[in-house]
Amino acid sequence: MDYNNPNFVLMVEDLTVSFDGFKAVNGLSFYVEPNECRVMIGPNGAGKTTVLDLICGRTKATSGSVSFKGKELLTMREDQIVLAGVGRKFQTPSVYEDLSVFENLELSFPRGHGVFGSLFFRRDAEVKERIAEIAETIFLADLLDEKAAFLSHGQKQWLEIGMLLIQDPELLMLDEPVAGMSVAERKKTAELLNRIIDHRSVIVIEHDMGFVEDIATRVTVLHQGKTLSEGSMERVKNDPKVIEVYLGH
């Protein structure tokens, strides 16, 4: 990898966070290129989710730097980070259960994000068309008026992915997108993810190795808050350090 490449979408450097002395992420650095699909793997407690939390501002870093297209994210609020073009999907599906699928998508539509913008937001043709288009993509076109509370687990995951898509982020972060899905749903999701990771950079946390091999451009293995190994799937799989962590004890 060319570390001097000025075109990195995301540059994470020396990122550290400590919870009462416990360093969940410890001096981590990695770089994401445009259109790259980066998969993070690692044993439980390796700090994978924490890394995503740090990037999107949910957890405040103790030190280090996260630069997205030249902007320092660590000093920005969550919503500013999102508006800058970073989308995040959580591990457990989080959609607005009291609202309909249509409204869920509408709230993510990238317009009228200020107080008065949303107060005077109009649901015009553009909005409706875009929502219809996304709904088609996420297999929910027929359920637009259904309350999100009535969706199945898999459908909620798709809805959340749809909410991300409508934002059209440049960097998409997905935390275990196929966890808890049935085999059929998993297949459909993989198909969906393959479609949406085109034309943008993606960071995925995933355990399902088959799935990882399918989508990953590059893999980062985290262990105890640090990078254990990084590179193509092939290389990582054969890295003795990785083998030791996963199998050695």
Binding site: R58, D79, L107, P110, V115, S118, K128, D145, K147
Partner: protein
């Protein structure tokens, strides 16, 4: 597929409900009640302003403020200051050592009007202040709290403490505020005697009109994307944040809006009752106002109005007949509402009464109404059957 997804200001059902309330406020009550009782209901309706604000903040936004009395009081005091200055002409106050200042200042050896009272000689300024002062105060509190992500229980307790602080302050600074007595003996508004029955009736209608203005404003907010965001925030605050919204600014907005409503209510209270006192600022009235909203239904703005009317009417009636039992009744009512009907009267209506009524009228063919917590004033859009 194309369902009707119009985002109308009022659905047909809601329009009917608004019309019913309008009929109650503008026709039934004025025709059925003598001026004295009408004035009482006018007073109750001033609390409804606060209850509407609470529905927005608490029901929709999940922000429970136990200090709404502060804003009610600020609005009321702004109005009272104007009226007091008008009542304190040098002729009226000739027996004072310093004529021309409010009587309570004179009793406290204050010999000149404090500078911050001066602008309240102007009616325009005072009317502006009725809204602006509570809003500014709410803004400061809101920025301090919501930017720091203080929420839920903590917010409730801190607002309660603020109510306590303000009460002690008003009582302690009696030379400037009238102390525990409040600002009393208010007489005229720009020369118009507000104490006559005719004036009180007129004020009742003004009050009603303002209430509807606030109701419509609240309805607009709920219908807007901002309204849906509030619900979204109440349930999934983090998700909203990661959809690119600055959650704090929305909370601040709705808190300020609630404060503005409360301020208007307070000013109308002063006009209709003829005085303002710190007992309306403190913890107890603030919590009572939450009771009104809870009984009416914390999700329904119209329910809040009915709840306010009902609880106050019951309070007056009960305390006339069985003063000892009143507190027991109020306490029991409150527990019952929280335990069994968390959505209050409005919930009872839309969950219990309406579905049954529909069934009755439509025979067995009617589709059971969705268990939406509120159709009475549509927190969520009434769901249409999904096409196909």
């Amino acid at each position: 597929m194309q369902t009707d997804r119009k985002n109308r200001f009022l659905t047909r059902e809601e329009a009917v409900y608004f019309a019913i309330l309008a009929a109650v406020v503008f026709l039934i009550l004025p025709l059925a009640l003598d001026p004295f009782r009408l004035n009482l209901f006018g007073k109750y309706l001033t609390y409804a302003f606060v209850a509407i604000g609470l529905v927005l903040c608490w029901g929709a936004g999940g922000i429970l403020s136990l200090g709404q009395g502060v804003f009610f009081g600020l609005g009321g005091y702004c109005m009272a200051m104007f009226l007091k200055l008008e009542a304190s002409t040098p002729e009226n106050t000739a027996i004072q050592s310093t004529p021309g200042i409010p009587d309570f200042m004179d009793w406290n050896q204050i010999t000149a009007l404090p500078w911050w009272w001066e602008p309240f000689h102007s009616l325009f300024f005072s009317l502006l202040a009725v809204v602006v002062v509570p809003v500014v105060f709410a803004f400061i509190v809101g920025v301090a709290m919501f930017r720091r992500r203080v929420g839920g229980v903590y917010f409730a307790i801190i607002t309660q403490a603020i109510a306590a602080i303000l009460t002690i302050l008003i009582i302690g600074q009696q030379g400037f505020t009238g102390g525990v007595n409040g600002i009393t003996d208010l007489r005229t508004l720009n020369g118009w005697d507000i104490r006559t029955d005719e004036a009180k009736t007129a004020l009742y209608f003004v009050n009603g009109a303002l209430l509807f203005a606030c109701l419509f404003a609240a309805q607009y907010v709920r219908r807007s994307k901002l309204g849906r965001l509030l619900i979204a925030m109440r349930d999934q605050e983090d998700r909203v944040r990661f959809s690119g919204y600055d959650v704090a600014s929305f909370k601040i907005f709705v808190f300020c809006l609630g404060a503005a409503f409360a301020g208007i209510g307070g000013a109308m209270f002063t006009l209709q009752v003829g005085f303002m006192s710190p007992t309306l600022v403190g913890i107890v009235p603030s919590i009572e106002m939450v009771i009104f909203a809870a009984v009416g239904g914390r999700l329904s703005i119209l329910g809040a109005v009915y709840g306010t009317l009902l609880v106050n009417w019951a309070k007056t009636t009960f305390s006339e007949s069985f003063p000892e039992l009143w507190l027991l009744g109020l306490g029991a009512l409150f527990i019952a509402v929280v335990m069994t009907f968390p959505n209050g009267l409005a919930g009872l209506w839309s969950e219990q009464i309406m579905p049954r009524a529909r069934k009755l009228f439509a025979g067995g063919t009617a589709r059971p109404a969705p268990a939406s917590p509120d159709t009475a004033a549509g927190l969520t859009q009434p769901r249409k059957a999904a096409a196909e």
